[in-house]
C-alpha cells in the first residue's frame, strides 16, 4: 500500500487496545504483525494496519508532523505522539498501544479530551488587559515591546500543543479528574509570566485552589513525556513559589510590557527590545 517507504527491516507485533463503549463490555487487545521499515512511525504502522488488516481500528490524527497533538497515545507504557515515535527506535518486537490515560475512551485509541480543554479554558489562556479595548481596536496605534529575555520567560510554555500526554502521565490527574493538571497550570504560568498580560491576579486566584497547583506532587512525569520539550512541572513550582511569596507579602510587582507607536523604526525602540538578529549595524 501507499505507506511503504523502504525495505522491511523486521516483523513487529502490535498489541492494540480495543474498546467500543457502545458494543464492548470491557476492553481487550487485538494483535497485528507488520513489516517495519526504517523511518516508519507508530502512526504509519497504525495506518498500515487499518488499510491492510483491520479497518475498524480507530484513533485520532491530523498533521503527522508533531504539530497538532492529535495522535498522542500510550506507546509501550509511555504517552507519546504516534507520529514522532519511530517503530525501530523502540527496539522491541512487541509494541503495546493504548489510549491516553486519565481520559474516557471514545473508541479504541481515541480519548475524549473534554476534561483537558475544560481545565485549559478555566485558567483563561489568553492575554488579559485592564483596558479591554486595547485588544479589540480595529486600527491599533501602539504595539507592545518585549525583550528577548522577557520572551524567554514564557516561550517554552507557548510550545504546548495540547496533546494531553502530560495529563496522561500525571499520577494526580489519573486519580483526580478535577485536578487542573500540568497542561492547564503550565498555561496559567505562561500567561502570568507574559509581560503583556495584566490578568495575573485573576489567574493566581484560580490556581490557588485545593484542585489547583497545590495538588501537584512534583512527580515530573509531565515534563518527561512532553513531546515539545515543555516543562510543566517547573511552571507549577513557579506558581507555588509566587503564591507563597504573595501570601507572605514578598512578591515583587510584575514587570509590564512597554508600548511603542505601531511600526516604530528600530532606532526609536530601546536597544534591549531588539532581538540580536535584527540589530542594525551602525555605519562606520
Amino acid at each position: 500500500m501507499g505507506y511503504d517507504m523502504g525495505k522491511p527491516v523486521k516483523k513487529v507485533k502490535f498489541r492494540v487496545f480495543r474498546y467500543d463503549p457502545e458494543r464492548d463490555d470491557k476492553p481487550h487487545y487485538s494483535e497485528y504483525t507488520i513489516e517495519a521499515w526504517k523511518g516508519m512511525s507508530v502512526l504509519d504502522a497504525l495506518n498500515e494496519i487499518k488499510a491492510d488488516q483491520d479497518p475498524t481500528l480507530s484513533w485520532r490524527q491530523s498533521c503527522r508532523m508533531g504539530v497538532c497533538g492529535s495522535c498522542a497515545m500510550v506507546i509501550n507504557g509511555k504517552p507519546a505522539l504516534a507520529c514522532q515515535t519511530q517503530v525501530l527506535k523502540l527496539d522491541t518486537d512487541v509494541i503495546t498501544i493504548e489510549p491516553l490515560k486519565s481520559f474516557p475512551v471514545i473508541k479504541d485509541l481515541a480519548p475524549d479530551l473534554q476534561n483537558l480543554f475544560r481545565h485549559h479554558t478555566h485558567v483563561k489562556p489568553y492575554i488579559i488587559r485592564e483596558n479591554e479595548e486595547e485588544l479589540t481596536e480595529e486600527e491599533p496605534t501602539e504595539e507592545f515591546l518585549q525583550s528577548p529575555e522577557e520572551l524567554e520567560a514564557f516561550l517554552q510554555f507557548s510550545y504546548c500543543i495540547k496533546c494531553g500526554a502530560c495529563v496522561s502521565a500525571c499520577p494526580v490527574s489519573q486519580s483526580d479528574p478535577e485536578f487542573y493538571g500540568p497542561q492547564a497550570l503550565a498555561q496559567a504560568f505562561r500567561y502570568i509570566s507574559d509581560t503583556r498580560d495584566e490578568g495575573e491576579e485573576i489567574r493566581y486566584a484560580i490556581v490557588d485552589n485545593p484542585q489547583g497547583c497545590w495538588r501537584c506532587h512534583f512527580a515530573q512525569s509531565c515534563t518527561f513525556v512532553c513531546p515539545k520539550g515543555v516543562d510543566p512541572a517547573m511552571a507549577i513550582q513557579y506558581l507555588k513559589r509566587d503564591l507563597v511569596l504573595m501570601s507572605l507579602g514578598m512578591k515583587k510587582e510584575k514587570k509590564r510590557a512597554q508600548k511603542a507607536p505601531l511600526g516604530a523604526p528600530t532606532d526609536k525602540v530601546p536597544e534591549k527590545y531588539i532581538p540580536p538578529e535584527f540589530t542594525i549595524a551602525k555605519p562606520e
Binding site: D176, D208, N209, P210, M246, S247
Partner: protein, 111 residues
C-alpha cells in the same frame, strides 16, 4: 492565599521533622550512649527542653501527616462541602491528638 500558607507550613513542618526525628532517635534509642534506668528516664523528662522539643515534634509531625492525608482525600472528594467536612474532621482529629500528646509529654514534667 490560604492554600499557599498551608503548603508552606507543610514544608516547614517537614524541615523541622528532619531534625526533630533525628533528636528523637538519638534520645530514645541511643540515650547519649549509655542505657538509662527508669529514674534517670523520669529525671530527663524534668528538663524543660525535653517536653518542649516533643511538643514541637508532635505538632510538626501531626500537621505534616494530616496535611498529606488531606491531599489524598481531596483527590477523591472534590465537592466544596466534602472538602469542608474533611478540613473540619482533620482539624478536630489533629487537635485531639495534639492535646493527648501534650498531656503525655508535660505530665511527667509537672509531676
Amino acid at each position: 492565599m490560604r492554600e499557599g500558607r498551608l503548603w508552606l507550613l507543610h514544608l516547614i513542618a517537614g524541615f523541622l521533622m528532619f531534625f526533630l526525628l533525628g533528636s528523637h532517635i538519638f534520645f530514645m534509642h541511643m540515650a547519649g550512649g549509655e542505657p538509662l534506668s527508669v529514674e534517670e528516664t523520669f529525671a530527663r523528662a524534668k528538663n524543660i527542653a525535653f517536653p518542649l522539643m516533643y511538643t514541637i515534634f508532635v505538632a510538626a509531625a501531626l500537621y505534616h501527616g494530616l496535611y498529606g492525608l488531606r491531599g489524598i482525600l481531596f483527590e477523591r472528594f472534590h465537592t466544596p462541602f466534602s472538602q469542608k467536612v474533611i478540613n473540619w474532621l482533620l482539624s478536630f482529629l489533629g487537635t485531639v491528638w495534639f492535646l493527648y500528646a501534650l498531656a503525655t509529654t508535660w505530665i511527667p514534667f509537672f509531676k
